[in-house]
């Protein structure tokens, strides 16, 4: 018998990343930006999306893919605020969404009738950081009832995110959370991070968030998406 060692050096995430690139090309062809909302459980992702759909849903055609470990509760909540498609992905115990799930969920979404896509990831600050879903940017939601050191504890997530939403700011008078310290910690990990300070519950600070989404969304009046040249200028996200 002959035992041989085969050098491989193949990234374990290679297949996911290939699928993510396919998703990214599909979204870019349709001109639809996609934001992947990540956070620990209970930071307010779903309420933020509900408020976003309420405020912007009549103006901008938004679709949501929402990942949930065991239920469809979030999808049901979101569906009350929009007649647009909300695609639920139940992960059956898995702690993150992967690109194949996004690819399948996109089959049910008419991208040419969509201006903005949200992916609401499973509440978890560890694993989703490493799974590229083909999104335009990750947005980490971080609430003031958590610790200011969260960016230091979960650096991969803050490093890979383009934006951070500091949520539940209405609770600041009741908690010992130091907003400046939290932001400094996040910027130490990722100096390019852009912040929004919101309370999805009271609506405080939502204007800037809404304005950002409005400016990121694909413009509504595109005659034929297939006619967009691939060299069209890069949108502002």
């Amino acid at each position: 018998m002959a035992v041989r060692t085969i050098e491989v050096r193949e990234r374990v995430m290679a297949r996911n990343d290939e699928l993510a690139e396919e998703v990214r090309r599909r979204l870019q062809r349709a001109g639809v930006p996609a934001f992947n909302l990540v956070s620990s459980p209970g930071s307010g992702k779903t309420l933020l999306l509900e408020r976003t759909l309420e405020r912007l849903g009549r103006e901008i055609a938004m679709a949501v893919i929402t990942g949930d470990v065991q239920t469809q509760n979030d999808a049901d909540r979101l569906a009350r605020h929009t007649d647009r498609l909300v695609q639920a992905v139940v992960t059956h115990g898995a702690c993150h969404l992967d690109a194949s799930q996004i690819s399948r969920a996109l089959e049910a979404i008419d991208l040419h009738a969509t201006q903005l896509l949200f992916v609401e990831n499973v509440g978890n600050l560890v694993c989703p950081a490493n799974w590229d879903l083909g999104e335009t940017a990750k947005i980490v939601v971080f609430s003031v009832t958590e610790g200011e050191d969260k960016p230091l504890k979960y650096p991969a997530m803050f490093r890979n995110a383009g934006y951070a939403v500091l949520n539940k700011i209405d609770l600041l008078p009741h908690v010992s959370f130091d907003l400046d310290l939290a932001m400094a910690n996040a910027l130490a990990i990722n100096p390019a991070l852009r912040f929004f300070k919101t309370s999805a519950r009271t609506g405080a600070g939502l204007e800037e968030w809404i304005e950002f989404l409005r400016s990121s969304a694909r413009p509504p009046a595109i005659a034929s998406p297939s006619l967009i040249p691939s060299s069209s200028p890069v949108p502002p996200w």
């Binding site: 002959a2 995430m13 993150h96 560890v126 694993c127």
Partner: protein, 95 residues
């Protein structure tokens, strides 16, 4: 995925299953009779709990088509997570 009835209870298990998929590809390509060892490089920032990952991988490698292949986790830099090598027995006698 057929293992565990399609239910992936954790991150490390889904990664271990992906490693096994890659290993099977290598074993097929090399026409191996048996896989005897699997080396994976795991970075400190790979988001992987090493002992948990080892347990998952050892569990999966215990069963066919692997039949007890050795698990070798090699510490690496940053968020590296790579299948480093596959050790196979190709069944041919060597002189």
């Amino acid at each position: 995925m057929p293992a565990f009835g399609g239910r992936l209870p954790m991150h490390e298990l889904s990664l271990a299953l992906e490693v096994c998929r890659l290993v099977e590809g290598v074993a097929d390509r090399e026409r191996a009779n048996r896989v005897t060892g699997v080396g994976v490089e795991v970075g400190a920032d790979a988001g992987v709990e090493v002992e948990n990952f080892r347990f998952c991988l050892e569990t999966l490698l215990r069963d066919p088509p692997f039949d007890g292949a050795r698990t070798d986790l090699v510490p690496a830099e940053g968020d590296t997570l790579r299948l480093a090598y596959v050790e196979i027995d190709d069944g041919r006698s060597h002189h």
